[in-house]
Subunit: 536 residues, 2 copies
């Protein structure tokens, strides 16, 4: 590895070093002419300092190219590439069959150094696919300057696990996801990408699976809707689409366990250790649950307390399906926008997100937006599912596993006001000058985020962040607000950055975690705190 | 005064001491026989220790009565009685024309010592009127033991101010109210009585007037409802009652400034210094605003953003009326229960609360429940009123009077989750043994209070309080929850009692006041903290 590192440490293509006798591919040869046109485009993308640095790099690169014979590249396995994930080990990435050492490019990346690091040790394509700016010729040309090798031709995607593992049929996932549990699959987008876009790309949308992903044949799929008086509807996907008007809603979904890791630091809790990313936003397309219920024979007004129960096609080893319910009033309210969705951001629902049909309950904890929906029924009681009755409830910090009584707390439906800082990241060294703090904020029940306060000094003084994103319909603010704040910071300072949001009912986040601690680690919405240092 | 104090300090009726030659009324003479039957009733009301003490008192009282000739009583003015308001000065009260020194009864009062002290120096009747338990013969008999004098016969209620003061026509008020401003009248019930009943007696309901109370002739009163297309309704009270079904709602109203005094202690704010009592609950009777709007020609669905604007008959010196508005969707929603109320707790609306007709918007800040309603209109913009546009809005703690921009914040509608401790009072010395902590909790938007956590150690550990009161319809929890918690406390302890509530959307109260401080001192809903000491 010492030789490889030394070679990789150079900015220019290395001399050909045949490895394992496998150097079969012809080397590519970067030339100065080939990079023509890249600098002006980058000038628009980068700040002036970065452009100057890039110009200097080009000049030296061109000189070196003239002095160097046509290079040949060593071959690497994916596993070898995967060892290069930090500046100390050098940062390698692949594109196609090419291997690049981008260590020296990281700080020049127009989208921020943190974004490049997400791909460290792996393939660029899944990340480039999310950001159209990369699909321009100059980007690949720029990258070629950093080429250090080729992937061994025998490298191929790993074969799927063909054992009788119930999760063997799970779909492939984006490598950028931060995996909290592989089986069942639970993963969140990295914080660096979380609030980069108002709509989360489907590939990065947080995934909260309780069970293996069912494999559904869309042609034989039927949704069963239990109507009043023993009648029932059985609807194919084509019938759903043709019988009911299409309705689209932009809505954020959040897991009850989002930010659980902060709660665990107070005292251990049971649950997946979500960071701040168990929340994402999509444009959902489908039919209104209301329309389907009315078509099934239910009326808008219904005396007494009723619940609409959902069952998924995902089931445990004993065949018990995932289930949840919501109050009837929400299900039939035209203002509540509850969907049976078949589209996510203009595409067919991905398998991890409920293909071919899922519930989307805007403003409500994600656990009620049942995926792979197979059955809808109206009941005088809540869903009998474990996840409705004996999970996803909040308790006092004084309740422990010996004293907990799930009947004493209501099932979580609407979630409280929430916000988090996505940039900078905890422990970062940020440069002096103008610091940009970024993040998201959201509240349940359609309550709009009306303000985000940010402190750089641990809560002693506050500033008001600028909210971005679409202005919602009052009372139907289903999607998050993104926000940012610019503030000058001086070298050497230690900053405790805090954000706290206010919603349209003027609810605020609690100051600290301990008083809202609960044994399941749900509803973690205290002020988000990020410590950083300011470097020169 | 020395002689009077010495006399008043005795437990038994004093010797007759004619004062100012005005001793005209025949003295009443307590006898042991006259008190028969009091002890068994009190035994039910008081704890055993108190009953024993009461028995001993009876015995000695009877002995003394036998040894004392028929007493004659000195005469006092109300002003003289008013000087006896503390144990040091002795605690005097009046009932009818009689004057009593109840200093030694205070600790024996079945309803708590704090309640008796509310009447100290004044008349008992306004307080007894609130608590039917007092209208039993034995209560007056018990009281007579403490008689020390008579009111001078020339004492009469003070004449109303007949000057041109615009507030001269304001109605008389209950003496138990804590007055924050006399003109306009703003007052709250004393904390000791606040949560004693689920429904606040009308006389004690917090009063928040912005202007003088209008004098309305109910026979000529008309409500004007501006319909679509220039049509308008003009409705008499009789027409309102006959044309629309009566609808009743139990709803809590809270002023945006409730608990402002706690915010002022962080930094000065502008506004009346409300304690924890700018909140009260009543059973309101009237007609649905929805029914009136539909009758006026409006439809349930209305494209775009609309507001229902209210104008009161209360007006400033320039004739500008009080005004406010709510979103159209809330006004027409059958689930929002917005009323035009003519009844309060089964009685005609009191003048201070909007006689003959007021708006009641459940779950929303009191400022939108316009009193003395004269006009309803639907508008594409909010009410132009000062109180809608340039008041009753929340701001960041960093906003001051130089930087405030009222257009940047939404008008407060739904209020955030709130709770407060009504017993014990701050600074109290509570007896060792079992301490009962009591209070109220409420949240805006019909969100039910699902839990109240109480700490006796400044927030280090928590217990769950017992909620009392009516179970609400889900999503329409318009009324507060009362709560209490029993806990053992040991002599010498200093307790920092804290309460914090959780609502149905799992919103919680913020830990501290400073981060929610705002220049107008509204939305003060941090944890309520009460320091007490435990005595032996």
């Amino acid at each position: 590895m010492l030789l490889l590192r030394a070679v990789a440490g150079r900015r220019l293509p290395p001399l050909p070093l045949p490895r394992r006798g496998c150097s079969r591919l012809p080397p590519s040869s970067p030339t100065a002419a080939g990079r023509r046109g890249a600098a002006p485009v980058l000038a628009a993308l980068l700040g002036l300092g970065a452009v100057l640095a890039y110009g200097e790099r080009r000049r030296r690169g061109a000189q070196a190219a003239q002095a160097t014979p046509v290079p040949r590249y060593p071959l690497y396995t994916r596993e070898e590439v995967g060892r290069h994930r930090s500046p100390q080990d050098r940062i390698w990435v692949t594109h196609g069959t090419e291997v690049f050492d981008v260590t020296d490019f990281v700080e020049l990346h127009p989208g921020g150094a943190d974004k490049v690091l997400l791909a460290a040790g792996g393939a660029l394509e899944p990340f480039w696919a999310l950001y159209a700016v990369h699909s321009q010729p100059h980007v690949l040309e720029l990258l070629r300057e950093y080429k250090v090798g080729e992937l061994s031709p025998e490298e191929a995607p790993p074969a799927p696990d063909a054992t009788r593992d119930p999760f063997a049929g799970d779909p492939p996932r984006h490598p950028g996801l931060r995996v909290n549990s592989q089986k069942p699959f639970n993963a969140e987008p990295p914080a660096e990408l979380l609030a980069e876009r108002f709509l989360t790309p489907n590939e990065l949308f947080f995934t909260r699976n309780h069970l293996p992903v069912p494999a559904v044949d869309p042609s034989s799929y039927r949704l069963r809707v239990e109507g009043p008086g023993g009648r029932a509807l059985s609807l194919s996907l084509a019938e759903l689409r043709s019988r009911f008007p299409k309705h689209e809603v932009t809505a954020t979904l959040q897991c009850a366990g989002n930010r659980r890791s902060e709660m665990s630091r107070v005292r251990p809790v049971k649950g997946l250790s979500w960071d701040i990313g168990a929340i994402s936003t999509a444009r959902w397309g489908g039919v209104r649950l209301r329309d389907v219920l009315l078509d099934a024979g239910f009326s808008e007004e219904r005396e007494g307390e009723w619940h609409v129960c959902f069952e998924g096609l995902d089931a445990d080893a004993a065949g018990a399906p995932y289930g949840a319910s919501i109050p009837y009033g929400r299900a039939v309210s035209p203002a509540a926008d509850v969907l049976l969705a078949y589209e996510m951001n203009g595409e067919e629902l991905p398998r991890d997100h409920g293909f071919p049909l899922r519930v989307v309950v805007p403003g409500v904890v994600g656990a009620r937006s049942v995926k792979w929906l197979q059955r809808v029924a109206v009941s005088p009681t809540e869903s009998p599912s474990h996840w409705q009755r004996n999970d996803y409830k909040g308790f006092s910090p004084c309740v422990d596993w010996d004293t907990v009584d799930y009947t004493t707390a209501p099932a979580i439906q609407e979630l409280p006001v929430q916000s988090a800082i996505t940039h900078p990241r905890p422990g970062a060294a940020v440069p002096e000058g103008e610091l940009t703090v970024k993040g998201y904020a959201w509240s349940g029940g359609g309550r709009e985020v009306v303000r985000v306060d940010v402190s750089l000094d641990g809560g002693r003084t506050w500033r008001v962040a600028r909210l971005t994103g679409e202005r919602p319909v009052p009372g139907r603010a289903w999607a998050w607000a993104l926000w940012e704040l610019q503030a000058p910071v001086t070298a050497g300072a230690e900053l405790e950055i805090i954000c706290k949001a206010v919603d349209g009912s003027y609810n605020v986040q609690p100051d600290t975690v301990a008083p809202i601690w609960n044994l399941r680690g749900v509803l973690s919405n205290a002020w988000h705190r990020v410590h950083v240092t300011v470097s020169r």
